[in-house]
């Protein structure tokens, strides 16, 4: 299968600091790719570059064959890339249902005038939006929390709601930024199953940043390892975990360990 996302020689410099240096990798259509590396390796910066929050210093990002460098974040979202955040960014004071309903907005096209005059086109489209939001909550198991204000959700469910909100945009590429952060092994296990399930159900490709190695090793078909903004290894879980550079990045060199 072809690559849905191609990253070539991607570089981002903040003044003298090279946060991401000359990184290239692909996300295969329908694949789950893991992005790992120690803290400060540039993983979230890569997400910010893909979603248009930052402009790359150089390099190219191609999504479904078109370059998305320089596009505004909302346009990139429109094209089908969406993400979750490391520090959860829900619409905190809105209910679970409203969070998802808001994100469904791209499935409607009525204008301001149609909304203000409550024309039939508004009513029909609005009904569809509500249906879609209800449906998403239902299949993602958040229906019983429909009217709960997002801020009052338990932490694990807030992460799940963020994923549901992302799915409401009908994405073809989902970026997950440390989805298992702060979760216990049991919750992490559930999350793994969830990611695998939505990949098939919503026909998605997934790029995931994570520190939980069980999650990465368990579901990622392909893993990219970063350290200090450079790609140091790439391959299957087995290949990566045998790579001397990866072992060095995570555990230090033998000399350092001896000292």
């Amino acid at each position: 299968m072809s690559a849905i996302l191609e990253i070539r020689n991607l570089t981002k410099k903040f003044g003298g600091l090279t946060a991401v240096g000359d990184v290239s990798f692909d996300v295969r259509e329908g694949g789950i790719v893991g992005l790992i590396g120690p803290n400060g390796a540039g993983k979230t910066t890569i997400f910010n570059l893909i979603t248009g929050v930052y402009m790359p210093t150089s390099g190219s990002i191609t999504f479904k064959g078109t370059s998305i460098v320089g596009l505004e974040p909302f346009r990139i979202a429109d094209m089908g890339i969406t993400r979750t955040f490391q520090n959860i960014r829900l619409f905190k004071n809105l209910t679970v249902f409203e969070n998802v309903l808001t994100a469904c907005h791209m499935n409607a096209s009525y204008s301001f005038a149609e909304a203000i005059l409550r024309l039939p086109s508004f009513r029909i489209q609005e009904r569809k939006l509500v249906e879609k939001a209800e449906n998403l909550l239902d299949i993602m198991g958040l229906k019983q929390y429909r009217d709960l204000v997002a801020n009052n959700l338990p932490y694990g469910l807030q992460r799940r709601l963020e994923i549901v909100r992302a799915l409401a945009l009908n994405p073809s590429l989902l970026l997950l930024d440390e989805p298992a952060a702060g979760m216990n092994p049991d919750e992490t296990e559930h999350l793994m199953q969830l990611i695998a399930r939505i990949r098939t159900e919503f026909k998605l490709s997934v790029l995931v940043i994570e520190h939980h190695m069980d999650l990465i090793m368990g579901i990622c078909e392909h893993i990219v390892v970063l350290n200090f903004g450079q790609k140091i290894a790439e391959g299957t879980a087995e290949e990566v975990s045998r790579s001397p550079q990866v072992i060095e990045a995570y555990l230090g060199t033998t000399e350092a360990a001896d000292a």
Binding site: T51, F122, L129, D147, L169
Partner: protein, 310 residues
């Protein structure tokens, strides 16, 4: 108290309400604070007065019907707000607020120094066209218009911008566009309120549209509760009537006004309505939210209880 007096206060409250509703969209629903809306009111008032004042008055007007003054005043404020927005809407949070403050004062000073519109001496002889029924109808239209806007995908997008700007961007919402539309609509509201104000007072002067007026509008929006239309309505009526009710205190009037506002804000930190709407749907929603919280607490407690038994 006779009916004319009460009616006078209600008319002033109704005029304030139009401006407050606009500001409510910008501040309460889109999350942008403005201290320049008196500037938009001034533009509406002066353009409206110019359209409807008789050609024989000084300064001379066009002598056109009142409804054209309303449209003209609203449009003028809206157009000016577009250019202000182009320059200032990329500023973050407080910086946008400061920019609007500067703009509001600039508008007032322009009217103060340009003699074409009467300068600091003001513009007497604006026809008294703001009658009680007209203001009432305008208020009803203004509320319906805003309520329908807020309860649509466009309104939800604005609320998303208020709640979490970056997440809104990532959810495919054109944040700049929605901020701009919100600003323009709120400026049109303020402009229309200015037209009604000019035709109620029959005399306008730049110092009526000072920073104090902008602040008063913002206070009413916060007092009523951010993100609540019924809160804005209640706030406009209460805070316009309050200084009149306090007239018995004579020179201490405004001290008591300030004390009353502080007292209510301390006892209800989220404003009178606190984001809730006083409509059947709004009350249902508030009850559903409360029940959901109770349910969630129950299930979570049960779950953690089971966990301990393991």
């Amino acid at each position: 108290m006779d009916w004319t007096y009460i009616q006078g206060i209600l008319m002033l409250a109704g005029i304030n309400l139009i401006a407050v509703l606009g500001l409510s969209l910008l501040t309460g629903f889109t999350g942008l604070f403005s201290f320049g809306h008196a500037g938009f009111m001034a533009i509406g008032a002066y353009v409206g007065a110019w359209i409807s004042a008789s050609p024989n008055s000084t300064p001379a007007g066009l002598g056109l019907p009142f409804f054209l003054a309303i449209i003209g005043g609203g449009l003028a404020a809206g157009i000016v707000s577009y250019f202000i927005g182009r320059i200032s809407l990329n500023l973050k949070g407080d910086y946008f607020c400061i920019a609007t403050l500067g703009f509001g004062e600039a508008i007032r000073l322009i009217f103060n120094n340009v003699n074409l519109f009467g300068g600091a001496r003001g513009w007497p002889g604006v026809p008294a066209r703001s009658t009680f029924p007209v203001i009432l109808v305008a208020d009803v239209i203004a509320v319906l218009f805003l309520a329908n806007l807020v309860r649509s995908r466009h309104g939800r997008n604005m609320i998303a911008v208020r709640e979490e700007e970056l997440a809104a961007q990532i959810a495919g919402i054109n944040v700049f566009k929605y901020k701009m539309i919100s600003l323009i609509i709120s400026a049109i509201y303020a402009g229309v309120a200015g037209v009604f104000f000019a035709h109620y007072m029959t005399f306008i002067q730049p110092k009526m549209f000072s920073l104090t007026k902008s602040t008063e509008l913002t206070i009413i929006v916060i007092f009523g509760g951010l993100g609540s239309i019924s809160g804005s309505v209640l706030g406009a009526v209460v805070l316009t009537a309050l200084p009149e009710i306090l007239r018995a205190f004579e020179i201490w009037r405004l001290v008591f006004y300030g004390a009353a506002v502080i007292l209510i804000m301390v006892s209800r930190p989220k404003g009178l309505m606190g984001g809730m709407e006083l409509t059947p749907g709004g009350i249902r929603k508030a009850i559903a939210e409360r029940n959901a919280l109770r349910e969630a607490k129950k299930t979570l407690l049960a779950e953690s209880g089971n966990g301990q038994e393991d």
